[in-house]
Symmetry: C2
Subunit: 404 residues, 2 copies
């Protein structure tokens, strides 16, 4: 008789954003006349930039003629895209990352989950708390996290690094030594960041204890302050301890286009084995590349026009962030984030739990946000709003919240 | 200190088609004047059908306007595509599969590998031998296959079901009971098929012993004979034992577009747990959907124009298959396949090993094929040619082979 992966049964509830989707759908069905504003899931609303649209049309035309048709892509991504990434995101910032250390994928969510494949089940993970739930959930599926303890809303075998008002929303080096450390800056969900000096401490620590850092920089395009690193490879020694995950979803609105990449420097080794070789093997065996037309769209993001146009989109969203931040402050909320990230993190009022506030906001203001507790135990009592709505809806949502 | 997944180190060499790619590149570099014809990897060469191109352009335009922009797709795929699949591929054939039992993905290779996630490491797999290498390689990565025994070119803990001339290229029910049975019909690489009555025996067997069948029907569009099933759900009882993998790569030339789907009937359970719920959880947690524009392209394949145009592509490739089959026969080769599948399977001449014949054909005829031994131990002494080249190249390749 076949046996299932029992680890799946340990997961509490469904994936956070699936749960939210179902709750909102149920409310809308029961209240068809209500106009719901979604500031919950981090999905963008602005259309693709003209330069990206042009690249898509052009490459679609190529696919319609035998002479310019493209079949299977190279395992690790087209050279034109990997070179554009290496030049723009790394060499221009003085980071020593070459095109063949970049693995193009269908997005950072897939990579965040799949990267676990190349590690033994026997590794202890450390995560910022709260954080993007995919890190913990996918490690739970792999059997790395022990058992879920409902009363703690936490797993028995995970090193949680609280990032609350008390720690200024930054993690402290853990007391118990982990093997794999997930860091996400600018942070999802708190919108907090880390300075280059602080990040250097993590790199030094990882090299010292033999840990690997999985650095999620999906929101780097939203950084506005000068001392915040755009990539972990700005730090000395990161080539021997860090994997970086990047996404086109938030810097270019590719949530429905699907494109991301992972960087694994060839100096990152376990004994004689490079993690680069293991990830290359996984890519070659369990994946067949991102679509040609999508890789051309990604290339267009790096063009002069693409940079200008996507820069305007980011400015648009960051204006929303400012609107939310200032609106909530004036309404008496305790808020943070929203300066180097498209997320605003607020303390729930009147000691409501995160889910109580979710229901309250959905029912009283018809605004959808994300309960902080969905991101980890230290997220309880907090709530996330995103700047990815339209400006009109953002203003309207804030008016409704202020009127509560 | 972090630990890697040691199972990766047990894998011999690199993924088959990566190895071939490297060998061909090295030969081409050493012999820049030689015109190499590739009938090795199963990549298509015909451009996308006009109906597909139109759908891509139309949906790209939608992505350029806020009112019609599409962000994150529904976890399991857009309803418009899942319904088209359910209607066309299942209901029209009298099979009881509903749209919500279909999971849209970025391709059957990803699904073939990722499906292992939902099963315990403690399952014994059975595979046709030879077969598409992804099944065994991905199970090896998960630690299910024991150790690789070089002298046998086989894994210690895999049930191999030989499909050679002696068995008429069909598998026999295994003596040792497996937990997970991979079947691929029309078969890659042999091009052989199975009748509905024969497949019914496998379904009955799986239900009897509590095994799950992972049925790869990526080549169903190439079936030309009437008694060959297009889906395993034509068999009674398949809903309680079978998962089906499907691809748009070969029926519509989507190798560089990336689209596929997996069917998991809700009646397929381990105790009280449906595999459908586990796969839905994996999809929701480790994947973010296929691109909207690609799902619209998939929908267009099912339109009247799309069916006509992709049908013509298949006829074109099958004419190549006939050319190869007849050409090789007239040159004295022992061949099979090529009637219900785009693959021609030949016995290597003069007792050459599969890789010896690969080198021979590459060097003497500048034709690339795939060594049978790359598909499993019983593939040794065989060789695969594909019908996916252009007609002109196919004819030219056959002329060169005949002239050897």
């Amino acid at each position: 008789m076949f046996k299932i992966n029992d680890n799946y049964l340990k997961l509490p509830g469904s994936y956070l954003f699936s749960t939210i989707g179902k709750k909102v759908a149920a409310y809308q069905q029961a209240n068809p006349d209500k106009e719901i504003i979604r500031l919950g899931i981090g999905d963008v609303t602005q259309p693709l930039a003209p330069a990206v649209i042009d690249a898509l049309h052009k490459s679609v035309d190529e696919m319609g003629h035998a002479e310019t048709f493209h079949g299977y892509a190279p395992d690790l991504g087209y050279e034109f895209l990997r070179s554009a990434i290496a030049d723009h995101d790394y060499k221009k910032r003085g980071c020593d990352i070459s095109a063949d250390e970049i693995f193009v994928s269908d997005g950072a969510k897939s990579d965040s989950g799949n990267i676990g494949d190349i590690f033994s089940v026997d590794n202890k993970i450390a995560v910022c708390d709260p954080v993007y739930p995919v890190y913990v959930d996918t490690n739970a599926m792999a059997g790395r996290t022990g058992d879920y303890i409902p009363e703690k809303q936490a797993w028995s075998n995970v090193v949680y690094m609280p990032c609350t008002a008390e720690t200024n929303f930054a993690p402290e080096l853990p007391k118990e030594t982990p093997d794999i450390i997930y860091l996400c800056f600018p942070n999802n969900p708190t919108g907090s960041t880390i300075t280059k000096d602080e990040l250097q401490k993590w790199v030094d620590y990882a090299n010292k204890v033999g840990a690997v850092i999985i650095y999620d920089a999906a929101y780097e395009a939203y950084i506005s302050e000068p001392d915040v690193p755009h990539t972990i490879y700005e730090c000395d020694g990161a080539r021997t301890c860090a994997i970086e995950l990047r996404s086109f979803s938030k810097n270019a609105g590719f949530t429905g286009v699907r494109l991301g990449f992972t960087v694994i420097p060839k100096d990152l080794k376990c004994g004689d084995v490079t993690l680069h070789s293991l990830w290359a093997r996984r890519h070659g065996t369990k994946f067949n590349g991102a679509p040609y037309i999508v890789q051309r769209a990604g290339e267009a993001v790096y063009s002069e026009a693409g940079q200008k146009q996507t820069g305007e989109q980011i400015a648009y969203y960051m204006n929303n962030a400012k609107t939310i931040l200032e609106g909530l402050k004036s309404a008496g909320y305790t808020v943070s984030g929203g300066v180097n990230a498209p997320y605003i993190w607020l303390k729930t009022p009147d000691k409501m739990t995160s889910w109580e506030f979710f229901d309250y906001l959905l029912e009283k203001a018809n605004v959808v946000g994300t309960p902080g507790s969905g991101f980890g135990p230290s997220g309880e009592g907090y709530f996330r709003l995103t700047a990815f709505g339209s400006y009109e809806n953002t203003v309207k949502a804030l008016e409704r919240i202020k009127a509560l």
